[in-house]
């Protein structure tokens, strides 16, 4: 065992494993579970997009592409982003096609971080940010947002946490796991502090297309933010394309250039069939996108109200497909709650601590599941709560 440890680098060895691995294994080992624990859409990729992928393979398009990604796709993205919010990126040197937003994140951190830098990460957050920062030899500085503020990051929190070594901040909205998003005004307030503290923004907006209450504002579209924002987006969530592994990064020439350099030696390029499918997604999928979005919004209302009726307090999420609910009143820790709910009622949810320290009284419920399952899951949760009422 010892010699084996020596084979592994110190940095990999010290990378903390997920705290809820054991719970995941428990879920994966059980049958007939209604899972509200899945971080991906329950829809299949719309057929026209799948068909474009098949067509590309049939046509023999099986090669590498330019490291930056196919020009055709970059131009589509350029147009798409411009229509969204009138930010103009140069398809030649400000847009990079990545293998999902996950790769974009990794590249962004690696392109900007030096040993000793720190990065502000508001939590609850997606699980990958802090480990990726750590892999760069930098430090994740966690900002805990508060349930009572709807888990919203406030400008003064940035002020309080930023120091001379703060190189960047990660924003993720609509947020996984809370579904929290920000209006343009709220973002402007954040932008002012960010500008003052001269930090880079890594903006993970992969859920942007699933915004239910107001129009999504890309952070880069705010005054003076384009030159300091790495805008990350992709196709996984909005177009139900998780398995295709395709996303993109838009940003300043120097940063995209550095990211491209790393990308060309590591990933080389995103799969060509996925890139061609992504073109189809951007060009011809508005109807299916809108339909899925309406469906998520209806589910959101249904689950949000259902949980409230059960007395599990939560905020109405503004986007994505998650609800972060408090299980405090059960006096069970989130992991205990999740384990028992799984064993006794066969419903899977993700314990809150997966998304940051101190989130022990929350669970993440993903409503990316069909309506009949959501209904059944809620009634099982109701049964569970009745049993454990104190």
């Amino acid at each position: 065992m010892k010699s084996r440890d020596l084979r592994i680098s110190k940095i990999a060895n010290d990378l903390p494993p997920s705290g809820i691995r054991e719970f995941f294994d428990l879920v994966l080992g059980m049958k007939d579970v209604i899972s509200l624990g899945v971080g991906e859409p329950d829809f299949v990729t719309p057929w026209n997009i799948r068909e474009a992928g098949i067509f590309s393979i049939e046509g023999g398009q099986t090669s590498y592409t330019s490291n930056k990604g196919m020009m055709k796709l970059r131009l589509c993205i350029k147009r798409h982003v411009k229509n969204l919010c009138d930010i103009r990126y140069d398809a030649n040197n400000q847009i990079l096609i990545t293998t999902g937003v996950s790769e974009g994140l990794d590249l962004a951190f690696r392109a900007i971080l030096n040993r000793g830098d720190n990065v502000l990460i508001p939590t609850p957050s997606y699980v990958a940010y802090a480990p990726l920062v750590y892999l760069c030899g930098a430090k994740a500085k966690i900002i805990r947002t508060d349930f009572h503020d709807g888990f919203k990051l406030k400008p003064e929190m940035i002020e309080n946490f930023a120091d001379s070594k703060t190189k960047a901040i990660v924003l993720n909205y609509p947020n996984n796991p809370t579904g929290t998003s920000y209006t343009k005004n709220e973002l402007q307030a954040l932008a002012r502090v960010i500008k003052k503290r001269a930090m880079i923004v890594i903006s993970d907006e992969v859920y942007s297309q699933l915004s239910f209450d107001f129009k999504h504002t890309p952070f880069a579209s705010l005054p003076a933010m384009k030159e300091r924002t790495i805008y990350l987006n992709g196709f996984s969530k909005g177009y139900a394309m998780t398995g295709w592994r395709v996303g993109y990064a838009c940003g300043p020439v120097d940063i995209i250039g550095a990211m491209t350099k790393i990308h060309q030696y590591s990933m080389l390029c995103a799969p060509i069939m996925s890139q061609l499918a992504a073109v189809e997604a951007l060009e011809n999928s508005k109807n299916s996108l809108d339909e899925m979005c309406r469906e998520y919004r209806r589910r959101r209302e249904f689950v949000f109200k259902g949980l409230n009726e059960l007395g599990l307090s939560c905020h109405r999420p503004q986007g994505a497909f998650y609800i972060f609910a408090s299980v405090k009143k059960t006096h069970l820790s989130c992991t205990e709650f999740a384990k028992r709910l799984l064993k006794e009622e066969k419903v899977a949810v993700v314990p809150g601590i997966a998304f940051g320290n101190g989130l022990d009284s929350f669970i993440r419920i993903a409503y990316a599941a069909k309506f009949s399952d959501l209904k059944e899951a809620l009634s099982r949760i109701a049964h569970f709560l009745k049993k454990h009422r104190r």
Binding site: F24, V27, L28, M30, V33, S35, G37, V38, G39, E40, D42, Y126, V127, A128, N176, R294, R298, R299, E301, F302, K305, G306, A348, V350, A354, F371, K375
Partner: protein, 161 residues
């Protein structure tokens, strides 16, 4: 289209109180909207989509698409004749179409003879029916937007971030 209709079109068994929750409306509002749609004939009825090919006793039933060329009648157009035809219970669906023929029917019967008899004895001899072309259906893949093949679903990993 009103979202109430969108929801019901996908699943008619969703209850008004559930729709109300989903759409942020009161149950009363949803109920009265549904009633209104029923009254206006926008909601025609609620029925179940059954894949009859999987039913043993139904497997021998046959369906046919029938192209019908007709002579439209003065002052009555196609509607009068169409009505005389679609009133036969054998006719499941009936459309007026553009192109080389006029009416397109979906006809269903217990066996091939029933359908053949319907065409030979009821439809073809009608005054003003000029010609018919019958296509027997061999297999039904998709009906009204629903793919009938029994699909394994949910290939997702049961839990992920």
């Amino acid at each position: 289209m009103d979202e109430i209709l969108e929801v019901l079109e996908k699943d008619a068994r969703i209850r008004p109180e559930e729709i109300a929750k989903m759409l942020g409306k009161s149950t009363k509002f949803v109920k009265s909207a549904i009633k209104k749609y029923e009254k206006q004939g926008i909601i025609v009825k609620y029925k179940t989509l059954i894949n009859k090919e999987l039913l043993k006793e139904d497997r021998r039933r046959v369906r046919a698409l029938i192209e019908v060329s007709v002579i439209p009648q003065k002052n009555l157009g196609f509607d009068y004749l169409a009505e005389r035809i679609y009133k036969f219970p054998e006719v499941q669906s009936s459309y007026l179409v553009s192109g080389t023929y006029d009416l397109l029917l979906v006809v269903e019967g217990d066996d091939i003879h029933t359908v053949a008899n319907f065409v030979a004895e009821k439809l073809a001899p009608m005054e003003n029916v000029r010609a018919t072309v019958t296509h027997f259906l061999l297999k039904k893949y998709k009906e009204d937007g629903d793919i009938l093949k029994f699909r394994k679903e949910n290939r997702r990993i049961a839990i992920s971030y």
